[in-house]
């Protein structure tokens, strides 16, 4: 084997574990939990694409699931913080509409944070 062969093999042996870390430490979530004021959370897969209408305390919230991500696209609340939050896709990420009492969270194997101070 030439020197270039050895360098390449070594680079792969170092690079692959790095790739595992990169991809698996922030693995995109597989499911979405939708929580409302009443009842247990609803669990939906993040694939295929769909739109869900959820009844909240003030009115309806509409959540769009698209290509493994999710976001609020409409909400009965007044300041629309939930819509401004945009797309969420990493495990543990969440977006909440407190006035309408609807919250969505991506479920996954290993969330980067156990809790977020918001």
């Amino acid at each position: 084997m030439t020197r270039a062969d050895w360098v390449l093999l070594l680079a792969l042996l170092v690079g692959l574990p790095w790739l595992y870390l990169q991809v698996w430490s922030s693995a995109p979530g597989q499911q979405l939990a939708i929580l409302t004021a009443e009842g247990p959370p609803r669990i939906l897969p993040l694939y295929p694409d769909q739109e869900v209408r959820i009844a909240g305390a003030l009115g309806d919230s509409v959540i769009r699931i698209e290509q493994g991500r999710a976001r609020f696209i409409a909400s009965a609340c007044s300041n629309k913080v939930c819509i401004q939050r945009g797309w969420i896709d990493a495990s543990g990420e969440s977006s909440a509409c407190l006035p309408n009492r609807v919250s969505i969270q991506v479920l996954g194997r290993d969330a980067r944070y156990d809790a977020v101070n918001f």
């Binding site: 698996w24 939990a33 929580l35 004021a37 959370p41 305390a57 003030l58 609340c77 007044s78 300041n79 913080v81 401004q84 939050r85 945009g86 909440a96 407190l98 006035p99 009492r101 919250s103 969270q105 194997r109 290993d110 980067r112 944070y113 156990d114 809790a115 977020v116 101070n117 918001f118």
Partner: protein, 345 residues
């Protein structure tokens, strides 16, 4: 041979992900926020029972401390407004006892006697107000009467107010106390590793089995995590931000953290994070430091006995105590501009 190799590889990979312990998660809405309970316990049934017990506590507190729904706090506020004395509900009695020294040490920047002001701005309701802000006359009126917790006095087990404008609101304080109660209940049920997170108000005990708990702190101006802190043992992490509740009127933003002295939303700060042993103190402190602002937060932190403080000012500069700097890890690239304070005792 190749199949065996692959099968082995897959097994290895799967074993890698199975190792993380099961953390039981439970979430619900109470006290105007989303409460998340995480319990790491080898017994999943005990974990789920404990998490539900926590929900029970928050639901009960929600009833007790609602300042404008019928309940013991509304009764007390009516009595105080009418100049009568009243015997408060035991849990409100306890909150008042805890709040009094904290308010005093904060120079009354944290003050649960601002119920009237909160109502004036409309931040008392479940849904954020739509404005407009109160008029100059109403605010002048508030400053002239300026009730504070120091106006309360006790006669036996009855509480009286020297100031008829005094209305209690535990919005800035009740979550901390509820989180402390929840942790006490979890411990009584034999749980040693858990997080109770009531919006920006969190207390964590124990660890996550394989590692300490990892807590993210929200960026006050972007939907991302600004910094993270590892917590192990027993600590509370509280964040107060101007992004939590606000309304916009004629292009100006008015948030819910009110300065009792000016009667206006406190200026100069966008968020304050406090790390402390008990949640009740951390909760009061986060509000007081927010009101104190980038110029005066260090004095207030000293008199309240805090060591770990992070304050983000309106320009995005992160002011932090040296003890906090040792614990915190900024997650944004680049990190915000930092300004280190003198060590807090």
């Amino acid at each position: 041979m190749t199949r065996a190799l692959l099968a082995g590889l897959l097994l290895l990979a799967l074993a890698g992900c199975e190792r993380a312990p099961e953390v039981h998660q439970h979430a619900f809405f109470a006290l105007g926020t989303l409460v998340e309970v995480s319990v790491a316990d080898p017994d999943p049934q005990r974990a789920s029972r404990a998490a539900e017990a926590v929900e029970g506590i928050f639901r009960e507190d929600h009833q007790l401390w609602h300042a404008w729904h019928p309940g013991p706090l509304l009764d007390l506020n009516r009595a105080l407004a009418a100049g009568r004395g009243a015997r408060p509900h035991p849990s409100i009695h306890y909150l008042l006892e805890r709040a009094a020294p904290l308010a005093e040490r904060s120079g009354y920047r944290f003050d649960p006697a601002v119920g009237g002001l909160v109502r004036l701005w409309g931040f008392h309701a479940d849904t954020p107000p739509e404005g407009p802000p109160p008029g100059a006359a109403a605010l002048r009126d508030w400053r002239e009467h300026k009730p504070s917790l120091a106006d309360l006095y006790w006669d036996e087990d009855q509480v009286f107010s020297r100031n008829p404008a005094l209305q209690l609101d535990f919005g800035a304080f009740a979550k901390g106390y509820a989180v402390d109660q929840a942790i006490a209940r979890l411990r009584a049920l034999g749980i040693e590793n858990a997080i109770v997170n009531a919006g920006g108000d969190l207390r964590a005990i124990g660890r996550r089995a394989d590692r300490p708990w990892r807590i993210g702190i929200r960026h006050p101006r972007a939907p991302e995590v600004l910094a993270s802190i590892a917590i192990e043992g027993d600590e509370s992490l509280f964040t107060s931000g101007d992004y939590e509740r606000y309304f916009e009127h004629e292009g100006r933003r008015y948030h819910h953290i009110l300065d009792p002295f000016s009667g206006q939303p406190a200026t100069g700060t966008t968020s304050v994070t406090v790390l402390h042993t008990d949640a009740t103190t951390a909760d009061a402190a986060a509000t007081a430091l927010f009101v104190a602002g980038p110029e005066h937060w260090q004095e207030v932190a000293r008199s309240m006995g805090l060591r770990h403080v992070l304050l983000i000012d309106a320009a995005g500069v992160a002011h932090l105590s040296p003890a906090m700097a040792e614990r915190i890890h900024f997650e944004t690239d680049p990190p915000p501009p930092l300004r280190l304070s003198e060590p807090l005792p």
